[in-house]
């Protein structure tokens, strides 16, 4: 391992160091190339295109930014979405990703490299994953030396969990946020290790970038206070800790409040309270240590009681104020997503719209294996390695992995936060294991060749072990600074040294036979190889599909299902530019971005009532649905139907969520009406409410004419109601494989004619109540 030793230049080991630095720089460059290129499967297998749903919104915002400039962007009121409410984009979007890509685009165009905005957006994520792996290197290097750093960077470069969110085209906040997260942690650890205010300031700026990029910044602003608290509680308080934390809270909060979407939330919501609480505590502790330094032990005891009591009173007051503030808001000042993190059952009980998103579900065990693979087995070893010896930095990564394991267990989406932690841990574990095995092999070989020089080599080995086990010379410098804990340190050091020596002795005694350590090494390499194979497979097969283009391999070649873009293109060219299109919210972003048409609801689910209105319309009978849509000025209704080709994530499968969300706001929609004996079905056993609702009708209109039976290939059953006509809607477009069907609302009936009709009815049939009343008297 290329541990840095401060030796005068010219000596062979200085040469070795220089060589090691160049080698690790080269390895880092290669890791960057690997991180970038493993994410290009989607471009090679499919095309250079934006993926999925949210990236389309980000892409659209970036287009707006590059066209209109930054000031227009902050003031952008988007009238193409959430009709008739609209949405203030500048104030409700995390601008980090957009500004990053916009800046890249601007710089490239300024030097006359005319890449399109789309190209820049597609490749932003892979570029930032290379950055993220370098940041991982830096972070792990601070914790356990550069060997572990390189291993962790290599692991992160291809961890499937991260690949799933950062393949080329997956232009989402997480793509840059993971880099920002790791880099913020690195700067925090760096500050903690050096006590430099320079790094503390950089740390605040990195935190600012993270706040700009992703709502997950609350993870940082809770994890770092927890670590600070842990350090204080375990008696590891130091001025470095203060430097690392206090500027971050002050500068970080000020900077965070500059981001429009966060604004005063940075001081008002419960997610941030932990940091302020710890901020107060660290000041109290700092004061205690300061007073302890200037007072005699006797006076100090008096002072302690005084300060502690005052501190307690202050704390109590603050806590009381906080409690009062928190209690005054209905959700306790927590946002729904945060609450569902603290109480995993919260969302499914109260907020169906959060529960309806698949990435907010708890993950299954196989998904852990899929997403972090062998890292899951290496993490415990890494945690053990972090405890020998435990430093401020290693305690941080231990805390990080513990917290992220919990969060990933709540929401599958947060697996992404776990991945870097798992990579760091596994990097440490791998590096330590390699260290031990190669060390023992080296020892064995040298002991075989030179039986006499056994003692020398063993001491050499011991030195190396010490240097490679995380104590870089900086770390040692740091330990000198710990003046406050001198007593403890002194106590510990003698205790440590014999243990190290005894370890060496033990090693000598327990030295594995050469063959055993070689086998162990080979097994480790095989484990690594298995990981690489799995990652490449995951990148190539599992996570590269752009989801707007589907492909299927059959005996007669590759089939491409490009229905989404077919219908979006149709909408954009053949409808009026101001027409409103209603669809379930999943397709909102894509419709605005690709078809450039106004939508009623989209993936930014900020207004539950509006979504519930669309859900209600979809679950209502045709007439009622027409009235709802007409009141919203909707001209076209778009449904996604997979029954012809067997595309499972279509609107019929999502339909129960529409019923639930609609029913949440409009009680006349009852989920039970759509279920037969608690079962959701669309065949002849289905309830009449189900068979008459708009969604059913729009999906299955004239479906029976395709094969004569109306066999739905997703639900694997014949549909319940086969022949029916639409009275208030007309089919205007159906894509090639029937995946997208677009209907137009028929215009309102002519009023005059309607009145005439009514009059006729009155005279002829006498149904109306007036005539019924009159008749007996006439």
């Amino acid at each position: 391992m290329a541990a840095v030793e401060s030796l005068p230049p010219g000596t062979p080991s200085a040469m070795r160091n220089a060589f090691g630095t160049v080698l690790s720089a080269l390895i880092l460059v290669l890791i960057g190339v690997l991180a970038f290129s493993i994410r290009l499967f989607s471009v090679i297998k499919y095309e250079s295109v934006i993926h999925e749903f949210d990236p389309y919104f980000n892409y659209r915002v970036t287009q707006f930014l590059s066209k209109n400039g930054i000031y227009e962007f902050w003031n952008w009121f988007d009238d193409r979405t959430w009709y008739p409410l609209g949405r203030v984009i500048g104030g409700t979007v995390y601008p980090g990703l957009t500004l990053t890509a916009g800046t890249i685009w601007w710089v490239l165009n300024a030097i006359n490299i005319p890449l399109s905005v789309e190209t820049v957006c597609v490749f932003t994520a892979p570029v930032f994953s290379a950055f993220a792996s370098w940041a991982t290197y830096l972070l792990t290097k601070e914790v356990k030396g550069s060997g572990a750093g390189l291993a962790a960077a290599a692991l992160l470069a291809m961890v499937p969990s991260y690949i799933s969110r950062s393949v080329a085209g997956s232009y989402d906040n997480e793509a840059v946020a993971i880099f920002a997260l790791i880099f913020t942690f690195y700067l925090y650890i760096k500050t903690l290790n050096t006590g430099s205010l320079f790094y503390a300031t950089l740390n605040a700026i990195a935190y600012f970038y993270m706040v700009c990029s992703w709502g997950g910044y609350t993870f940082i602003i809770n994890l770092i206070p927890m670590h600070v608290l842990l350090c204080i509680v375990t008696g590891r308080y130091s001025p470095r800790l203060y430097i690392a934390y206090a500027p971050l809270v002050v500068l970080g909060t000020l900077l965070a409040a500059l981001v429009p979407v966060v604004g005063f939330n940075a001081v008002l919501t419960s997610e941030h309270f932990a940091s302020f609480l710890v901020f107060i505590i660290i000041h109290v502790v700092a004061l205690v240590y300061y007073i302890k330094g200037i007072l005699t032990p006797k006076m100090f005891k008096v002072a302690v009681t005084l300060v502690v009591s005052i501190g307690l009173v202050v704390c109590l007051i603050v806590v009381a104020v906080l409690v009062a503030l928190v209690a005054s808001s209905p959700t306790g000042g927590w946002s729904g997503r945060s609450l569902s993190l603290l109480d995993p059952t919260y969302a499914s009980k109260y907020i169906p719209i959060i529960a309806s998103v698949s990435e907010h579900q708890p993950p299954t065990w196989p998904s852990y294996f899929m997403d972090i693979n062998v890292l899951a087995f290496l993490v415990p070893a890494g945690i053990i390695a972090c405890f020998s010896p435990l430093s401020d930095a290693s305690s941080f990564v231990v805390l990080y992995i513990v917290m992220s394991v919990y969060f990933s267990g709540v929401m599958v989406r947060l697996m992404l936060v776990l991945a870097p932690a798992a990579c760091i841990m596994s990097g440490i574990a791998l590096s330590q294991a390699f260290d031990v095995f190669t060390g023992s092999i080296k020892y064995q070989l040298s002991s075989k060749s030179k039986d006499d020089a056994e003692d020398n080599t063993s001491t050499n080995n011991a030195q190396k072990d010490e240097s490679s086990s995380g104590k870089t010379d900086k770390g040692e410098e740091v330990s000198k600074e710990r003046s406050s804990k001198k007593g403890k340190k002194k106590e510990r050091e003698p205790a440590e040294k014999p243990s190290v020596k005894s370890k060496i002795v033990k090693k000598k005694a327990l030295v594995l036979p050469l063959e055993a350590s070689i086998v162990a090494l080979l097994l480790l390499i095989m484990l690594g190889a298995f990981y690489v194979i799995h990652c490449v497979w995951a990148a190539a097969e599992a996570y590269s599909a752009p989801s707007i283009v589907l492909t299927s391999q059959s005996h007669d070649g590759l089939h491409v299902f490009d229905d989404f873009r077919e219908s979006y293109a149709w909408l954009s060219h053949n409808t009026d530019v101001d027409d409103k299109v209603a669809s379930w919210w999943d397709y909102g972003y894509q419709t605005t971005a690709m078809a450039n048409r106004t939508v009623i609801v989209d993936n930014n689910t900020w207004n539950n009532t509006h979504i519930a209105t669309v859900g209600t319309a979809m679950s209502s009978p045709e007439k009622a649905a027409w009235e709802i849509f007409n009141s919203l000025d909707v001209k076209y209704v778009l449904v996604v139907f997979g029954g012809v080709i067997g595309y499972p994530s279509d609107d019929i499968n999502k339909f129960l969520w529409m019923v639930r969300i609609g029913g949440g706001e409009f009680p006349h929609i009852k989920e039970a009406d759509y279920l037969r004996d608690g079962q959701y079905r669309i065949d002849s056993e289905a309830t009449p409410t189900m068979l008459n609702c708009l969604m059913y009708k729009l999906c299955y209109y004239r479906f029976v004419e395709t094969d004569g039976k109306g066999y739905d290939r997703v639900r694997r059953t014949e549909i319940g109601k086969k022949h029916f006509k639409l009275t208030h809607f007309e089919e205007v477009f159906t894509s090639h494989h029937w995946m997208v069907r677009i209907y137009k609302l028929k215009p309102q009936k002519n009023r005059i004619r309607g009145r005439v009709k009514k009059l006729k009815q009155k005279t002829s049939s006498g149904v109306s109540s007036k005539s019924v009343k009159k008749n007996p008297w006439m």
């Binding site: 293109a569 060219h573 004239r702 159906t734």
Partner: protein, 462 residues
């Protein structure tokens, strides 16, 4: 429509001062064949012209009614030389011409004879003229199951400033289904052909309006705007990017579009719609792509050949009347096939004008030839009149920008796909500018990092 069977002749007083030569010529025999089988109307006119005056005539006039003159895409004339066996054709110069006393805003083209026509001599001319947007759908809106019917309006007799001794006109319709045609005796229909004539001895400016109402389901593919960009790279290739805005120019689609009918009853449903297009690309074409602004379109097929390559492709959805689609076709061809050196040392690009799509009308064609950075004195040579303009474009790492020759023409038909040339001067040393720039940039980066490593910026010595 057939009931409106009337005829009138426009007798116009012509001042002899302006049309002194007009009365000196007469057309002995005129035969006109108008091909209505696609939406591009092609008229083949065979004229036998005789000089009955005393002076030799250097040119003659072709007249067109005002409704046709604005849709006239192209007029070509050939003189037939020699007798039956050894017939050969000599292209004649045709220019649009203004006549001050044109009756009813008629438009004229002036055909110059190869050799002046002496008194009493005759010459046979083959004239081809092409009309666009001349088929008017009626009914204007049709449903998916209906087929498309169109009107074609013309005259039963050839409009001419000269007396025509004998003439016939044939209309060729795409199918045997003809709803109606105006009868100007003698007129009759046989299969796909309607024959008007023969008419004897018509006065100058005779006009007999006729309307033919017939079925035409051929694809009315109209490119509203086409921007072709040809980028010359002296490193060995021509990159061509074509931006299409396509529309179906036929009867507008009305009401529902039912996929199930379109798929199961293809023969009768949506017969006027089209979903397959064919582009004829140069041979040795490579790196072909077909996409639109939301990504790649997967429905295309390329056949390369020695004489030409064919790209068969489908828009994202079938186009019904009035539906629009946009797409981009791009490809690359080797430079040596198209760039040559002129004897005077200049270089010239020899490429095909027009639209590569077969049987399409282009309402507005903009052709941009992007010359390499550092090119000078560009000039374009074309066989017909176009608007020319110069622009500057900045591409990869440009500093002074590339000169762009912009050629713009309205109403382009497939017959406009003829070679044109752009001449320019270029020093090969400019090719090295960008690589040298990159090299020096990297050199600078390394030197700076070298300097950074070796300079100690600390104020206090450690």
């Amino acid at each position: 429509m057939a009931a409106r069977n009337w005829i009138f002749a426009v007798a116009v007083f012509l001042s002899l001062s302006t049309f002194s030569s007009a009365q000196d010529l007469q057309i002995v025999n005129a035969e006109r064949r108008i091909d209505l089988s696609s939406h591009i109307v092609k008229a083949f006119l065979t004229l036998k012209v005789e000089n009955i005056g005393k002076d030799p005539a250097a040119d003659m006039l072709l007249a067109f009614p005002p409704t046709q003159i604005k849709n006239l895409a192209m007029v070509q004339a050939l003189a037939v030389m020699g007798k039956k066996k050894k017939k050969n054709y000599l292209p004649l110069d045709v220019k649009p011409s203004e006549q001050p006393d044109a009756p009813n805003d008629a438009g004229y083209f002036l055909v110059s004879f190869a050799t002046p026509l002496g008194p009493g001599e005759t010459v046979t001319l083959e004239v081809l003229y092409i009309l666009t947007h001349s088929l008017e759908p009626f009914p204007v809106e049709i449903t998916q199951s209906e087929s498309q019917l169109v009107y074609y309006r013309d005259s039963a007799v050839v409009l001419s400033p000269y007396r025509i001794k004998q003439q016939t006109t044939f209309f060729k319709t795409p199918s045997t289904r003809v709803e109606s045609f105006t009868s100007v005796e003698p007129a009759n229909r046989a299969g796909k052909e309607i024959k008007y004539g023969a008419y004897e001895d018509r006065a100058p400016y005779s006009y007999a309006p006729v309307i033919v109402h017939f079925e035409n389901n051929s694809p009315f593919a109209v490119v509203e705007e086409l921007v072709r960009e040809i980028e010359i790279s002296h490193w060995g290739s021509l990159q061509i990017t074509e931006n299409y805005r396509l529309t179906h120019g036929g009867a507008r689609h009305k009401g529902v579009f039912s996929r199930v009918e379109y798929q199961s009853r293809r023969s009768i449903s949506g017969s006027s719609s089209f979903n397959a297009l064919l582009a004829v690309l140069p041979p040795r074409v490579n790196s072909v792509y077909y996409r639109d602004n939301i990504g790649n379109i997967s429905t295309s097929h390329l056949r390369t050949g020695f004489k030409k390559s064919e790209l068969e492709f489908e828009p994202r959805y079938p186009l019904f009347g009035g539906w629009k689609a946009t797409f981009i076709i791009g490809y690359r061809v080797p430079l040596e096939d198209y760039l040559f050196e002129a004897p005077d040392g200049r270089r010239y690009l020899n490429f095909t004008f027009g639209c590569p799509l077969v049987e399409t009308i282009v309402n507005k064609l903009t052709l941009k030839v992007v010359l390499p950075e550092g090119s000078k004195d560009p000039s374009a040579v074309l066989p017909f009149a176009v608007n020319q303009d110069l622009q500057v474009k900045y591409s990869y790492l440009d500093i002074v920008g590339r000169t762009v020759v912009v050629l713009q023409k309205d109403n382009v038909v497939p017959t406009h796909s003829v070679p044109f040339q752009v001449y320019y001067t270029f020093k090969p040393i400019y090719m090295l500018a960008e690589p040298l720039m990159l090299v020096s940039a990297f050199f600078f980066v390394f030197v700076t990092s070298l300097a950074y490593v070796h300079i100690d910026l600390n104020i206090v010595k450690k």
